[in-house]
Subunit: 191 residues, 2 copies
Amino acid sequence: MRPKTFDPDEATALALQAFWHSGFEATNMPDLLKSMGLGRASFYNAFGSKREIFLKSLNLYFATVDAHLTQAMAQDATREKSVTHLIDAILAVTQHESVWRGCLIGNTALEMGSKDTEISLQLGRGVRMLRKKFAEALKKPSADKSFNDVNVEALALHLVAGIQGLLVLAKAGLPRADIARARNLLISTLN
Amino acid sequence: MRPKTFDPDEATALALQAFWHSGFEATNMPDLLKSMGLGRASFYNAFGSKREIFLKSLNLYFATVDAHLTQAMAQDATREKSVTHLIDAILAVTQHESVWRGCLIGNTALEMGSKDTEISLQLGRGVRMLRKKFAEALKKPSADKSFNDVNVEALALHLVAGIQGLLVLAKAGLPRADIARARNLLISTLN
């Protein structure tokens, strides 16, 4: 019997949704196959293992978030608007039906990063992508002419840590009003 | 046969180490019993379930970190020293044999927080404990006389998010030099 054909990119996108929702460990093979709409044979022929499709899903996540964030600040002429739009785009994409699902980079870092060198190396690429987005935003001219020159790389790192921390607190049940305050304070570190 | 006696506080401390190392899901019952040095019967008689001992472990974690952070800034007269010592105490306690194990509050938030209301409510208590420590530090007089009055509660929240985010990036493999830069920038948000 000829196996059913399927689009591997679409199957990877479906795997990404499953891993993003539940994490690597808690996504068992039956759940994963169901999410991807694949039988075992097709899955193993195309993707090799749960770990391999997870690594592919991470890459797809980085590319998708990169494109999303590029678009989020494309129209912004100033650094303040760009940073605000980056932060708000991250806060938007890390919620699903008003539940915080977090950033797959942060989720994976806390689940696997400290014990798994291959994973932490790959996560490093995701973190560098986020830092690059914030650095691009910070290199735009400031709306405030009295703005002192900032250390773009250091401030980009600070903003990436701040948004990741905010997502941790959101998943720890931080009230919405406090999330909004922390967002505002993160943006105000530009000044 | 009379069951062996054991110290439930010590057994909870051992469970905490196991959960901190591996997370809730990945700590299976045989591992947990081995870590606690208990047989199944003694464990279930004393603690009821893996979930119950996990909730107890979280409470022990909050109390232990609270005491540790109180001690870390006890001798500090200024807000700057207190905040620096709080941040460095958190960075120290979240490493074990130079591997990042993270903060159990953040780890648990990303593993379980979005799907488990009881857990996220309990994590909220841990986050409030951390915010209270930073607020206590920020209420101390500034070494810099030109220091403007800050919004203590908002800045405390900002610092807690910042340190949690830094731990995410550390577990994502951020180079040590960048961790040091992000630490310095977090401390400098006081100015």
